[in-house]
Amino acid sequence: MAYVLPPRLDTAAAPPLRLALKKLVEQAKPLAVDGSAVEQIGQACLQVLIAARAAAIAQGQPFALTAVSIPFADAAALAAVDLSAA
């Protein structure tokens, strides 16, 4: 089941996002994240997502970004961050 990212991912949303992703990563299962609802995302949450992806991969679990919204894709492209690459 994909974890659906909330629409607003500003700095204030980063701590709860980190906790949620940390919990998911700790389950040591393939992690799927759905970014289709994201309307706004900043550096703080991008960092958390990069770290979550790294943590999942370090555990040998795939990290899949199943869908992204345009604002999300836009921000990721702007920051030259690729969360979708295997």
């Binding site: 703080a44 991008l46 869908a67 030259a80 961050v81 690729d82 690459a85």
Partner: protein, 734 residues
């Protein structure tokens, strides 16, 4: 693949191209466009023209030719875009859509003589501010290009567009051409201070500023990022390298960072790396390209939507002047590497439906297996849990294949609004939010009609005329907002306007006049608002041909209910109304609570359930003759015995011996009284309408693990009226 199949693909691409154009028009209107916006429109039209020629749709080809001529002049800068021209382009687009539809359905092509004349006139500069070079009104069926100056990059572009697809290589050529020609670009490295995110600081905005100057973010350095377990989410860890064109003044670059205290910024002239155009294509996943320049425009490589312009996805890549150190697996990288492999495939819908059906059967078989195992005291085996997880995942993945962004529905709305503007003389601005929200295809397909009606209703009845708005001190232009969002497992689509709102006194008077309510009925504001959904209700003094096309709001509500949805109104007299549709994400599967009532088994959809309670002494208070309410932590919730509501013999009636399931329904919370709870699981919905007939109070049926049929309760319908005299209507059903 035969010609018909290829032609089918062509029309699908037309649809995608048209949808992409519609998006670009929004940018043109809001004057937030750049050369790429116009290029995108041009390419879409150009692709359609190419296909039209190949498949012999002469009228379409002739029309697109003139359209393209005008667009080409715009994109080459020979013509300047004025509001009048924007309007013409948009109007021409509507006709283009008609042309495409006519070609697809072998219907009659629209009469485009006037539009063609306007396009030709505009191309010759008559409607534009800037004079154009003589754009020959070439023979309409001539495929040849107008002789506008085009660059090498464009040439590639056109070639690729003609082939129906723009490979990233074309863009690379573009970038390469630019890089080779220019002097040395600026190389900016930027590392925000750790506290850069405090007080709402957002370093990405600075990147955006540089991109606006023509910069390209080349790489993101994530080496300072701690592991997830120890990361402080409010500290900035990332750093970037950005290439900014040499033509940009150093002071301008520095001024971007003016108000960032102490962040590390270095500025240097970098040497443009030699570029060979073909390289990225030859080695799509080569070992070096940790760096790829991110384009200024949004990328859509992983976006769920078939990118309206697969052709426009700007995956510009240029080898970086200063390569980053080899990145760890985590990777400090980057925009999607150029890849020659297609990211999407087209699948016949029948195949998909077959897959969904099979998965449904698998879910049922899995439930049966679970039942059988539990009969042999083997319910706890871990393989069963694994199978359960796998089945669920398989089901969700299958559903995800069917998921489509609401954009496919929303992209038709601007045209509807334009037509309404023309018919009513009102000025309307359309705001769309959340168009990438995904929902099952069946919902996408069936939501169009009710949505169209709501939009028409909002413009026709909701918004005032321009004069009325000005008199009321509102902006002349009315605003209709269309939004979609996921909300606790459902999709909520909202159509709101800033118009006159519902005049409750008038609604009430009308309802009395029509005999819908009694003159002395005491109704809450909400109940009055809901009267407009009553059959045969119409408040417009004269039924216009816009929203009064034989479809009333009652039909809208019925359509929405048929989708398993609910419709709600919020309205404030004088400042607007908002209709919200709450729909299930999929119609094929529901999470349900399996309950027993008498000797029957029912399923209550989990999305409605708030909590389940066994009432303590004193929690239930009798009301009236045979009614009762449940005290849920201070608020009183009416109790509906399911057996009584459905007219079943048997079944518990006494709350003290039963389980009360508190549900959220149309009319607020209610407590369903059932004998006991058996289980909670996913059930595959089988339609009652298709297999038997619709029954009020029931949403469908499902097959349980033991092979028996269980009926799925329609919570809203079941709690709409309190049944006082048991009706023996279900005695033989199920």
């Amino acid at each position: 693949m035969d010609l018909d199949a290829i032609q089918q693909i062509f029309f699908q691409e037309c649809e995608e191209g048209l949808a992409g154009m519609e998006g670009a028009f929004a940018a043109l209107r809001s004057e937030q466009y750049d050369a790429e916006t116009i290029n995108g429109i041009f390419r879409a039209v150009h692709s359609i023209k190419g296909g039209a020629g190949a498949f012999g749709h002469e009228r379409l080809q002739a029309y697109t030719h003139q359209y393209e001529t005008l667009l080409d002049l715009l994109r080459s800068g020979a013509l300047t875009l004025t509001p009048a021209l924007t309007n013409l382009i948009v109007a021409a687009f509507d006709m283009l859509a008609d042309h495409v539809a006519a070609a697809r359905d072998s219907g009659e092509s629209p009469d485009d003589a006037v539009m063609l004349a306007r396009l030709i006139a505009a191309a010759s500069g008559e409607e534009a501010a800037a004079p154009a070079p003589a754009a020959p009104a070439a023979g309409a069926d001539e495929i040849a290009f107008t002789p506008a100056p085009i660059s090498l990059g464009d040439d590639f572009d056109d070639l690729m567009a003609m082939l129906g697809d723009v490979a990233p290589a074309a863009e690379t050529a573009d970038a390469a051409a630019g890089a080779a020609a220019g002097p040395q670009d600026w190389l900016v490295t930027f590392k925000p201070t750790p506290n850069a995110l405090d007080n709402g600081g957002e370093p990405l905005l600075l990147l955006r500023e540089l991109v606006r100057m023509g910069g390209r973010v080349q790489s993101c350095d994530t080496s300072a990022l701690p592991p997830l377990a120890s990361i402080d989410p409010e500290v900035a860890y990332l750093a970037w390298t950005i290439a900014v064109p040499a033509s940009v003044d150093e002071d301008d670059i520095r001024s971007v960072f003016e108000f960032t205290d102490g962040c590390a910024v270095t500025l240097a002239r970098g040497a443009p790396a030699p570029v060979t155009v073909a390289e990225p294509e030859l080695e799509p996943v080569g070992p070096t390209p940790t760096i790829a320049a991110a384009p200024a425009a949004p990328i859509a490589t992983v976006a769920p939507a078939p990118a309206p312009a697969a052709s426009a996805a700007p995956a510009a890549t240029a080898p970086a002047p200063k390569p980053a150190p080899p990145a760890p697996v985590v990777a400090s990288v980057v925009a999607p590497a150029p890849t020659a492999v297609a990211q999407t495939i087209r699948v016949d819908l029948d195949k998909l439906d077959r897959l969904v059906n099979l998965v449904g059967e698998l879910v049922i078989t899995q439930a049966m297996l679970a039942q059988r195992l539990s009969e042999n005291n083997m319910a706890g085996i871990s393989e069963l849990t694994d199978l359960d997880h796998l089945t669920r995942e398989l089901q969700e993945s299958t559903m995800a294949i069917r998921a489509q962004p609401m954009k496919t529905v929303f992209s038709r709305v601007p045209r509807i609004i334009r037509e309404l503007e023309g018919e009513t003389g009102k000025r309307v601005r359309l705001d769309i939010e959340g168009e990438m929200t995904e929902v099952d295809k069946t919902v996408v397909e069936r939501i169009g009609e009710p949505l169209t009606h709501l939009i028409r209703n909002a413009v026709d009845h909701g918004l005032e005329t321009t004069e009325e708005r000005i008199a009321a001190g509102k902006p002349a232009e009315g605003v209709v907002t269309l939004s979609a969002a996921h909300h606790s497992g459902r999709i909520v689509i909202t159509v709101s306007d800033d118009g006159r709102g519902i005049d409750r006194a008038r609604v009430r008077a009308k309802a009395i006049e029509r005999g819908i309510i009694l003159p002395d009925a005491v109704l809450s504001d909400e109940e009055v608002d809901n009267l407009i959904f009553a059959p045969g209700f119409s408040t417009a003094a004269t039924v216009s041909n816009i929203s009064g096309r034989g479809v009333g709001m009652d039909v809208v509500r019925k359509n929405v209910q048929a989708l398993g949805g609910r419709i709600g109104i919020q309205s404030k007299f004088g400042s607007g109304s908002s209709f919200s549709l709450s729909l299930p994400l999929t119609l094929a599967v529901v999470d349900g609570m399996i309950v027993t009532v008498g000797d029957q088994t029912f399923v209550i959809p989990l999305s409605h359930i708030v909590e389940s309670l066994r009432p303590t002494d004193g929690a239930v208070t009798a009301i009236g003759v045979d009614g009762s309410v449940l005290d849920v932590r201070g608020s009183y919730v009416p109790i509906y015995p399911v057996a009584e509501q459905l007219g079943l013999g048997g079944g518990e009636r006494d709350p003290a011996n039963a389980v009360l399931i508190v549900v959220e329904a149309d009319h607020g919370q209610a407590a369903l009284l059932v004998d006991s709870i058996q289980d909670q699981r996913q059930v595959v919905v089988k339609s009652l309408e298709a297999n038997y007939q619709a029954i009020n109070g029931l949403a469908g049926a499902t097959i349980l693990g033991d092979g028996r049929v269980a009926l799925i309760i329609d919570v809203d319908a079941l709690t709409a009226h309190r049944v006082r005299t048991p009706r023996p209507m279900l005695a033989h059903a199920a």
